[in-house]
């Protein structure tokens, strides 16, 4: 299942439109940049204080003063701007970010998100995630469908929330699910799996879109 992450990143890339201001979370979401069509120009924001972030710095050419939020050395595109953390989160909470793409521990059918703590086990902290999901116009969760066979997409999250009713869409290697008032709507699926397999890997009932398509 090594290409699961590639499938997810490739599909998420299609969600980003020319001119969008986008913040990508650490890890899998960062891979999305590798699949953007050449005619689509995205303005990447990184919450540590840059608008117009460019690709990762080439080895040997790193500027130690220019980092992304994942502590990787990056570049600034022409037209970029640096700012302080209050300005950065003003941009985020102020609904000036069009799309944020984040990973998750759990997502539920109401669009509730849990991504920052497993009490007693793992307490990495929320970083900027709570602000991002509350402030971005569109919240996409990019993650593998299950964790070692355990459901991550649930009726109700069991872990502490990052935020409530904020997720718009979930993209996994199995399909694309949109959060609707009626619950989760499967709009696209990976034909490597049957609909029964996808439902079985999901801890909440999936409504099937009448316009169901294959992903990618």
């Amino acid at each position: 299942m090594s290409d699961a992450k590639a499938i997810i990143a490739q599909r998420v890339a299609k969600e980003l439109k020319d001119g969008n201001v986008v913040n990508l979370g650490i890890g899998l979401p960062t891979m999305v940049v590798n699949y953007l069509p050449e005619d689509v120009e995205i303005i990447f924001q990184s919450e540590n204080g840059i608008m117009g972030m460019g690709p990762a710095a080439e080895e040997g050419c790193e500027d130690l003063d220019i980092m992304n939020a994942g502590a990787g050395y990056v570049t600034a595109n022409p037209g970029a701007m640096y700012f302080d953390s209050a300005t950065s989160f003003g941009i985020i909470r102020g609904r000036h970010v069009d799309v944020t793409v984040l990973g998750a521990l759990q997502v539920d059918r109401h669009g509730n998100l849990a991504s920052w703590i497993i009490p007693g086990k793992m307490v990495p902290g929320m970083g900027g995630s709570m602000d991002l999901v509350v402030g971005a116009k569109k919240v996409i969760i990019a993650m593998q469908h299950t964790q070692k066979g355990n459901h991550k997409i649930l009726d109700e999250c069991t872990l502490p929330y990052t935020a409530v009713k904020v997720v718009d869409e979930i993209v996994t290697e199995m399909g694309v699910m949109v959060v609707t008032p009626e619950g989760l709507l499967l709009t696209e699926y990976n034909p490597e799996y049957t609909l029964e397999q996808i439902q079985e890997a999901t801890g909440a009932k999936l409504n099937i879109s009448p316009d169901l398509k294959t992903m990618l």
Binding site: I50, D63, P124, G125, M130, V164
Partner: protein, 222 residues
């Protein structure tokens, strides 16, 4: 005018056990290592450190953590320094770390509130989560917000790229992050800077932090 330039050891000599110190930087990018190193040498204990994160092992506030100087860490993300989890879970009482996690945007605004004389800020971030526990929830124009209070400190460690002898400071690239906010939120502000220049050499259009906020300047930051 008062001479603000000191060595790193002179600069931190005023810091006592139990002090609350804000440290600029984001994953050590924009953290004044020269001041951290001096604080490690001074070896004051029971500190409350306010920083975006816990640095890395052997870098930034991670050095203070390894040296057992931090009693309470107020941060937004500590996952990239494994020593935090070890110290939070240790059975040895005197090594035990209290870690208070705050959403990053809220941390920035609470510091800014202290810096700018505000009684608090209202944010939608954290509503409906454990972050909201014990906090006042206000409904304004149909939306819910948490009241988050100002965050003050005794000292702030700021990292400048260029600083003039008055303290006017410019930050390069993404080293800015929390630095200009913290410069206004602490009683005593120490800048560790890469380059010190004469007053008048900096273009006033390009200065990020006014020298009025700065008490002490330490050159030699890398």
């Amino acid at each position: 005018m008062k001479n603000k330039i000191k060595t790193a050891d002179e600069a931190v000599s005023v810091i006592q056990d139990g002090a609350t110190i804000m440290v600029g930087g984001f994953m050590v990018c924009g953290t004044p290592e020269i001041l951290i190193d001096a604080l490690v040498r001074k070896n004051v204990k029971n500190l409350t450190i306010i920083c975006n994160d816990a640095g890395l092992p052997g870098k930034g506030v991670g050095k203070l953590l390894s040296n057992g100087q931090i009693k309470t860490l107020i941060a937004s993300h500590v996952g990239l320094n494994p020593e935090v989890a070890q110290r939070m879970n240790t059975e040895v009482e005197e090594d035990k770390l209290e870690c208070i996690l705050i959403p990053q945007g809220t941390l920035a605004e609470r510091i800014r509130a202290a810096s700018t004389g505000l009684g608090g800020i209202l944010t939608p971030t954290g509503v409906g989560t454990i972050v909201a526990e014990g906090k006042q929830l206000l409904e304004i124009e149909g939306n819910e917000y948490l009241l988050e209070l100002p965050l003050h400190a005794d000292f702030a460690f700021i990292r400048g790229t260029v600083t003039d002898k008055f303290g006017n400071t410019i930050y390069n690239g993404t080293t800015q992050n929390f630095n200009p906010l913290m410069a206004g939120a602490a009683e005593h502000v120490i800048v560790g800077t890469c380059k010190v220049v004469e007053v008048g050499e900096l273009d006033p259009n390009t200065i990020h932090t006014s020298g009025i906020f700065v008490d002490t300047i330490v050159g030699g930051e890398q």
